[in-house]
């Protein structure tokens, strides 16, 4: 089995050499562990081969059959080795490819990992933000709860205030009811007082007046001139007292009378008042100059009384003049209508103006002009109850002008 051909040895390369080494180990051992083994080995190849060749040639004859078998064996083994090597190469390539794949995959995984890490970071960031947001929400919730509590308190306070107001209103209403009842009672009392005054005072005065009249008529011959004068004085005074009582009652009645407001045709009203005037014998027949009078808002019967009193006044205080002229007119001023009655009569001294509208106040003596002094007080009361104003301008012996204002009627009504 030691028959090696030179050609085969050359092909066998290092592996053959190893086999050769096994045949002659003494030789190879001398340089086996040398640091320059391969160079030394190569340099010594010819020597080796020459020695081998000589050795093999000696053995050739004995081993040729074995050699063939061995050669075949070797060839097969060699083929196997080559196949194995090829397979190994393929496997290596495969491995390399797989490695490469793995590296790619690894690279991809790294990227994916990085991505994941980034995503995780993002998620952590988001989670952190969410935590902050949650805290914020929790804070807001708490604030809202606080606000809700405050609102509840505010609501409760409002409710309390509302209840207080309602209570106050109820109390006020109760007070109004009580006051109204008191006022009604007072009014009723005043009414029965007026009735009592007018009934009980008038009856004895009527008796005084009536009986004196009987004396005057039936017993005139029993009295001298002075006595007759006394009787006349009693009659005149009792009559006067009756008038005073009537005027006072009329005036007090005004305060209690309900004012029923409607549109009043003033020209019509003045015409009616003029038609109702009664004139005594020898009295001046007045010359009226009535302008266009716009309608006003008021209580017709009360406004009529105003015209009656003012026109009667104008006629009364013109009585001593040769001629009686009365001008009646109106003008507008600041949403009000001002009406006036102007005469050319006795007039009065403006320094006594503050007494003009007083109850039972007079600027002339009874001898000059009769009257109780209630007429203008009634006028003023009526106009005041209409939320109007009354005033006058006068010059002694030249005449007087009375003015009163009333609310304008709404043209739509």
């Amino acid at each position: 089995m030691r028959a090696y051909s030179y050609v085969n040895l050359v092909i066998a390369d290092q592996k053959i050499l190893n086999t050769a080494f096994l045949e002659n180990p003494e030789y190879y051992c001398s340089f086996k562990d040398s640091p320059k083994k391969s160079n030394h080995c190569c340099i010594n190849y010819p020597i080796l081969f020459k020695k081998k060749h000589l050795y093999l040639r000696d053995m050739k004859k004995n081993d040729s059959d074995e050699l063939i078998i061995a050669y075949k064996e070797l060839a097969f083994q060699h083929q196997e080795k080559e196949n194995r090597a090829a397979e190994l190469i393929i496997a290596n390539k495969e491995l390399i490819f797989q490695n490469e794949e793995k590296e790619h995959r690894a690279a991809e995984l790294i990227i994916a990992n990085k991505e994941l890490a980034f995503q995780n970071e993002e998620k952590e960031n988001r989670a952190a933000e969410l935590v902050i947001a949650n805290i914020e929400l929790a804070f807001q919730n708490k604030e809202k709860e606080k606000r809700a509590e405050e609102l509840i308190i505010a609501n409760r306070e409002l409710k309390q205030a509302e209840d207080d107001i309602r209570k106050l209103n109820d109390e006020l209403e109760q007070k109004v009811i009580e006051r109204t009842a008191q006022l009604e009672a007072v009014n009723k009392e005043l009414g029965s007082f007026s009735y009592s005054v007018s009934h009980d005072l008038r009856a004895p005065i009527r008796a005084i007046n009536g009986y004196t009249k009987i004396l005057q008529e039936d017993y005139a011959d029993k009295f001298d001139a002075d006595g007759v004068k006394v009787l006349q004085t009693i009659i005149r005074n009792s009559k006067k007292m009756g008038e005073l009582i009537d005027d006072l009652l009329a005036f007090s009645k005004l305060g209690r009378k309900q004012v029923t407001v409607s549109a009043v045709d003033m020209n019509e009203l003045v015409t009616i008042v003029r038609e109702e005037l009664l004139f005594e014998d020898g009295e001046n027949i007045p010359v009226f100059d009535v302008k266009i009078l716009p309608p006003a808002k008021g209580d017709k019967s009360l406004i009529k009384q105003v015209w009656i009193n003012l026109i009667s006044n104008a006629l009364k205080y013109s009585r001593k003049k040769n001629k009686t002229t009365v001008e009646i007119g109106a003008y507008e001023q600041n949403n009000l209508i001002v009406y006036y009655v102007k005469d050319a009569g006795a007039g009065f001294d403006m320094q006594y103006y503050d007494k003009l509208f007083g109850v039972f106040q007079r600027l002339h003596s009874h001898e000059e002009f009769d009257g109780t002094g209630i007429g203008l007080a009634i006028v003023q009361k009526i106009i005041h109850r209409h939320k109007g104003t009354v005033w006058a301008e006068s010059a002694l012996n030249e005449g007087t002008c009375f003015y009163f204002s009333l609310p304008k009627t709404n043209p739509l009504n």
Binding site: S198, H199, A203, N209, Y211, K239, G242, D246
Partner: protein
């Protein structure tokens, strides 16, 4: 006493007013037979023939009742109500006389059927004038239904 043919029934608690009223009627020439009762109770007795007036002929109606409003016991309003709610008597003219125009009963009087409502004037001239006019109108001018 004979209460027949009474033409005017004067119901008046004040003797002074009664005297003045009767004088005024007489002076006005109204000499018709007049009977004066002093309050509402007596007026009802007279009208419905009761008490001292039980023997009076109920068919003899006065032509006019002058009725004071404010009287003790039975008021003028109550008398008016009785007269005006009686089918036989309601056509008798009833003139309410009062001292006051402040009476709360003026409207009620008219609602009950009073024919006139007179506030007695304080001044005797006016008082006489008023009574005279009432008498003249209701006795002389007015034509009763029966």
């Amino acid at each position: 006493m004979n209460y027949d043919n009474v033409e005017i029934l004067l119901v008046e608690d004040s003797t002074d007013d009664a005297l003045l009223t009767m004088r005024a009627l007489k002076k006005s020439g109204l000499t018709n037979k007049l009977h004066h009762v002093i309050d509402g109770a007596e007026a009802l007795d007279f009208i419905f023939c009761m008490g001292v007036y039980a023997s009076r002929n109920i068919k003899e109606y006065p032509k006019l009742i002058l009725l004071d409003l404010k009287m003790p016991k039975v008021s003028g309003i109550q008398v008016l109500e009785r007269v005006k709610s009686d089918p036989d008597l309601k056509s008798i003219p009833v003139v309410m006389l009062t001292s006051s125009n402040e009476s709360p009963d003026i409207e009620k009087c008219f609602a009950l059927g009073a024919n006139s409502y007179i506030v007695k004037p304080v001044d005797s001239d006016n008082f006489f004038k008023a009574i005279k006019e009432i008498g003249l109108f209701w006795i002389k001018l007015n034509q009763p239904q029966h």
